[in-house]
Symmetry: C2
Subunit: 358 residues, 2 copies
């Protein structure tokens, strides 16, 4: 006991020596047994702090105590993973006391994980786990070295000899190559569905889709000319269109449509989630598009477009669906409730994984 106290004192001294005296670090977020959640934020001079969260209908005001800590407890939240942030007098900030951050280049958000009593499709469960690999490839299309993430399924290891189909999975507009794993939990979703026999073991490639300052079509070149050859050189994959799929969310959902339909010789599966299609590339590819619909319908094994009815892109996606239907291209709409969120993204991916390569 004495040793433990001494150790604690030593560690506290260490912390102060290493990092200096600091502002209070209130615990946040605290998920309670009934799934209600308490958020805390230290801002002694703020006039107003609002909690914004994708589990809320609208932002809610927090209350300041005499020590300068703002607090709010929200009623039980449905188990899931939700982005949230604090607005301190209009300034949007991640929760400084939460290690779990949203991987994004535009905004700083934190992640609330409400695990619940029962494992969810994205939960870390006691099943065989695949591996996520951070790989570096030379993009001849973009003239630089880029990072991609590659999920390999359980059983894919240095001693195996099986070849696998591949899903190319693209993030949203200001997300990064890490968003599909860090926020979307693509690896755990795949682990769980494979363990349950609901999904085929597959490789999932998560490239970095943002191309700046160049326009979008350069990413199509990157994926076709650089990423696919890199994957097929470095992994045990089945190298034909019937074992190759492309999917993506938001801006990545628009990229998915562009990449898929301009490379129908390469993909038999195209799955677009809440696509953002107000891009030059989309207009160029689809405005005067005269597809051979019969040929496409024969060769495409799956073409889905998913969206939530509260998604701000819902009307736009309905127009996209109408466009494909008008041109005779068979599309499976997947319409659910909810908005333009990663909660829906996870559902869309889970549905896709159950449909691919069967």
């Amino acid at each position: 006991m004495k040793n433990i106290i001494l150790t604690t004192i030593a560690l506290a001294a260490f912390a102060i020596a290493a990092f200096g005296q600091r502002a209070p670090r209130p615990s946040s977020p605290d998920v309670h047994k009934d799934n209600s959640v308490t958020f805390r934020y230290y801002a002694p001079k703020a006039n107003e702090v609002l909690l914004h969260g994708e589990f809320l209908e609208k932002p809610l005001p927090m209350t300041k105590d005499t020590s300068g800590i703002w607090t709010l407890t929200v009623p039980p939240v449905k188990p899931d993973i939700y982005p949230y942030f604090f607005a301190e007098d209009g300034n949007q900030l991640a929760d400084p006391n939460n290690t779990y951050l949203f991987a994004n280049e535009r905004f700083k958000r934190s992640i609330l994980d409400v695990p619940g009593d029962q494992p969810l499709v994205h939960s870390l469960q006691n099943v065989p786990h695949g591996s996520i690999q951070y790989r570096y490839y030379e993009s001849s299309s973009l003239g630089r070295t880029r990072e991609m993430l590659v999920y390999t399924p359980p059983g894919y290891d240095a001693f195996g000899n099986k070849n696998y189909p591949v899903l190319y999975l693209i993030h949203g507009g200001s997300d990064t190559q890490e968003t599909w794993t860090k926020v979307g939990r693509a690896n755990f979703i795949a682990d769980n569905l494979i363990a349950a026999g609901k999904a085929e073991p597959m490789i999932i490639v998560m490239p970095y889709g943002n191309v700046r300052p160049s326009p979008m079509p350069d990413f199509t070149k990157d994926i076709i000319n650089d990423i696919i050859p890199f994957v097929e050189k470095n992994y045990r994959v089945i190298k034909d269109k019937d074992h190759r799929a492309v999917a993506g969310f938001s801006v990545g959902g628009g990229q998915t449509l562009n990449i898929g339909f301009t490379n129908l010789d390469k993909f038999s599966y195209i799955c677009s989630y809440a696509p953002f299609t107000m891009t030059e590339e989309f207009r160029k590819n689809f405005t005067d598009w005269k597809p051979n619909a019969a040929e496409i319908n024969k060769n495409l094994k799956l073409f889905t477009v998913s969206v939530g009815t509260e998604d701000f892109l819902y009307e736009s996606v309905k127009q996209n669906l109408a466009m494909f239907e008008e041109k005779g291209v068979k599309v499976q709409p997947i319409i659910v409730s909810g908005g333009h969120t990663w909660m829906n993204c996870k559902l869309f991916l889970a549905k896709t994984l159950e449909q691919l390569f069967k």
Copy 2:
């Protein structure tokens, strides 16, 4: 041109629809051609904002303009990667406009990357790249599933058949399993030294070293009973002590000494960086330690302790060195300038990689 304008408008509308109106997002940090750096931070109500950075002797005040943006340009900074943060009226915050964050559970810091004209040992260079893998293992010692990162060198792939030596590399006290790659760039350092023929190709395992609420010795059990067996089952490794090393920084440097010297049958290389040794585990292992120094010196191929002369642990590390010397255990001190920093950590690792498995 018209299309580009329309696209820009559409993207702006998209951003507002998706994220709402927001506070200004000034560019920060801006590294200029001469390696001077401008930092910007929006905080219209703050009375004082200080820039803290490991490239500074002491915190420097920033200046507010009429739009509420605080700015500071610092003179040319020596090329390296540095943690920094803003102190807004005492509240320590990461730079909200910098995507590059320090992976840590205690504090929120941003990373300044000053690349310089010449590639550094940690720079992404045009050399063959290894892969970082995120793996999940069942820890029987800790009764939970834990994540570890595994670097495999260039040429280690599904088609290879060579076996490799392994370095087990532990992060600092409140760091995470990602800190050695995200901040320490262990993967690029290894890539570059292997490409230059200065380091042997090896596997580097970066476990999660924090064990809460249990005491430290449980991590020793975890690494010996769970992590090493997992690695040796799942990777092509050479399974003897002469091809196994342990290294770590700060709290991880203390863990390195405990793990190494209580498992001399398992490690021929022990490399401790700025070790924090004011722990119950260290006291228990070393206070009444009566080592067979001759045997240890014969069997250990390398034992180094590294530290910077401005490290707040410098005196403590000198006492550690004296203790080992007093007991007749041969130790190679590596004393450099600088403090308890990840800039030094990278140097220590580079030095270690050049010494291992030769």
